[in-house]
Amino acid sequence: MARIDVLMPQMGESIAEGTLSKWLKKLGDEVKRDEPLFEISTDKVDAEIPAPAAGKLVEIKVQEGQTVPVQTLVAVLETDKGAAVTAVTAVTAASAAAPAAQKAEPPPSAPVRPSPPPSVPVSAPVAKGDGTETAEERLRRKSTPLVRKIAAEHQVDISTIPGTGFAGRVTKNDILGFIERAPAPGAAAVRPSPPPSGPVVHPTVEAWPGDRVEPMSKIRKITADHMIQSRRTSAHVTSFFEVDYSRIAELRVKHKASYTERGANLTYLAFIAKACAEQLRAHPVVNSAVSGDTIIYRHDINVGIAVALEWGLIVPVIKHADELSLMGLSRAINDLGERARTKKLSPDEIQRGTFTITNPGVFGSYAGAPIINQPQVAILGVGTIEKRPKVITLPDRTDTIAIRVMGMISMSYDHRVVDGADADRFLADVKKTLQEFPEGAV
């Protein structure tokens, strides 16, 4: 029998600890590989954690309600010896029996590779005395100096990359392909490369008598670091446009009831998200990311919506926002916002955004200059929407002051890749889409 350690996983970047909220299996239960084993709750998300291998739950080290750092031993599974154990978490072993030395043959499904030339002795990997890993697992974990260097540079966990080398070894092409495909920091295994000036250090400030000093919550600390990092990384410029929402206001009045009947809330934000999603397709540079000396034009349009919570800020992401109708977007915004407030978002739902909308206007802000949500290159701020006097020109060319529903939109963009002209064209098109919003699309 082999014993498999189950560790507290790292859920998303910058999360250092998790609370075991519920055990889904009892001591002595048999579990299948990938079967939910327990639930955890972190600052950002709640999630079910699958068993890393099939086996029997023989030890529970962390009780419900306990908060422990990531990589803490949570439980121990006992498996049949020889079963292919590919735990995501680290595998250590205590049993005495070591498997016989095995030759590093590629798996049968792999393309046929010649055995080494006769004059090239390839020593079969010999398992350590206390090990229960198969030779294949050991090879899988081994990596070449180059792959390790690349992994360190990009802060990638090699064990999460599918390998195509001998016995699943991660090759140069594997890791480069992996990094190319998943350059966003959202992907669990990839962290953003540190900004040129190193890790964020917040200067210390003297506290005066009577002050209250309390440590930052994790979400506060992440936000603080990310904001500084973004300021360091991107060349922020902000453009402001005034939008006449009078037509949207009419459409809202007209269709609000039917949306409510169908359980959705027709908000200005939904219209704005719709207009942005549509225009991002036409302005790909606004939907891009900067990676070294390259520009990644994102294929998907995933719009993040900043949600202010009592305990901080979170940005759930609407995937493929351009493929959703106004109804679909309204539902997604309501749903993600609600689940953000109740801490029911999965890690996946806060990752892979390509553009962000933040809505400080709900608190009355006229307009803002938001900070870009890295590694995106643009963020749209929505100012408060209210009736204002507006000079309009009548068909007979006389000017008059009318009462219109007006609001500012502002966009901070990364001038490294988005020029003022690009940003303003995008904003002008968003404005036009809003002011001429087709009734058929509601």
Partner: protein, 325 residues
């Protein structure tokens, strides 16, 4: 532009240097009246006379010793070993005397010791050797090993003009097999100490020299059909090694296969592997591999010679393995 053989290229190089500089002269066994065992120096006696084309007794030590003395007196001798295997008879002169002269006495010894090396010609143990490793280990010498007709000419001329003793290893299997059109009227000089990219590739690097350049290029052709892109580096100069070129190709492909016809133990591949380990360890995406002759003398039996010497298929096999690593 006429197409000339590797052998003709050596002959032209010698001829041009003798025409250019009257200090250059030839000495060796049968280099004069007979024109050399492989006819490299045919016609030289007639053109340059007995003072500059000297038939010597059968004593490699005497040939190298005489050349060294003449060099100290201001001459530019080119000594031929009828087969490079017999350079071992001159080992003492080369290692104890010639290689140390500059260090001991500040004496330049501008000699060239040239001779046919290598197998694939059913020559047996005394006429197939590759003696570079012994001299590679000798500070004070330079060693060149051309693979192409152009470099055969360019390196013999550069070797003659070099102020240090240069061993010029000409591969007898290439003598009449390799043909190339060389521009007439253009001075061809191959810089000593500089390798050449014989073929560009991206998946792995084959670093080699001499006849194995051609076997490696053949292997690269075959590998291409499997989708493996092999870069082939022709070292041309073995001592001093072109570290920059070897490191550059490793940084490019991240995998290194060293191929040489010389035997394995103590061969150049070991030194090259050590240098890459020191200078480019973090660029490696696989172990440094070697394809070499087996550690035995070259057999007389053709089938055994074929087995002992590295063949194209051996290079292909090792490269496939390394590419998939």
């Amino acid at each position: 532009m006429a197409e000339i053989t590797y052998l003709e290229a050596i002959r032209q190089g010698l001829w041009e240097e003798m025409e250019r500089d009257e200090r250059v002269f030839l000495l060796g066994e049968d280099v004069g009246a007979y024109g050399g065992a492989f006819k490299v120096t045919e016609g030289f006696l007639k053109r340059f006379g007995e003072a500059r084309v000297i038939d010597t007794p059968i004593s490699e030590a005497a040939i190298v010793g005489a050349a060294a003395g003449a060099a100290h007196m201001g001459m530019r001798p080119v000594a031929e070993m009828q087969f490079i295997d017999f350079i071992s008879c001159a080992y003492d002169m080369l290692t104890n005397y010639v290689a140390t002269a500059r260090y001991r006495a500040g004496l330049a010894t501008p000699i060239v010791v040239r001779g046919p090396c290598g197998g694939f010609v059913r020559g047996g143990p005394f006429h197939s050797q590759n003696p570079e490793a012994a001299f590679f280990h000798t500070p004070g010498l330079k060693i060149v090993a051309p693979a192409t007709a152009r470099d055969a000419k360019g390196l013999i001329k550069a070797a003659i003009r070099d102020d240090d003793p240069v061993l010029y290893l000409e591969h007898k299997w290439l003598y009449r097999r390799i043909k190339e059109s060389l521009p007439e009227g253009e001075e061809i000089l191959t810089p000593i100490g500089r390798a050449r990219v014989a073929r560009e590739g991206k998946d792995l690097s084959i670093v080699t020299y001499g006849a194995m350049v051609w076997k490696s290029l053949e292997a690269a052709e075959q590998l291409e059909k499997d989708g493996v892109s092999a870069e082939v580096i022709d070292l041309r100069t073995l001592l001093p090694l072109d570290d920059a070129a070897i490191v550059a190709t490793v940084k490019k492909t991240n995998k290194l296969l060293v191929v040489h016809e010389d035997t394995r133990t103590g061969g150049l591949a070991g030194e090259i592997a050590a240098r890459i380990n020191e200078q480019a360890f973090e660029w490696l995406d696989g172990p440094i591999m070697r394809v070499t002759a087996h550690d035995v003398p070259i057999p007389y039996a053709p089938t055994l010679e074929d087995f002992v010497l590295p063949q194209t298929e051996d290079v292909v096999k090792a490269a496939r393995w390394l590419a998939a690593y």
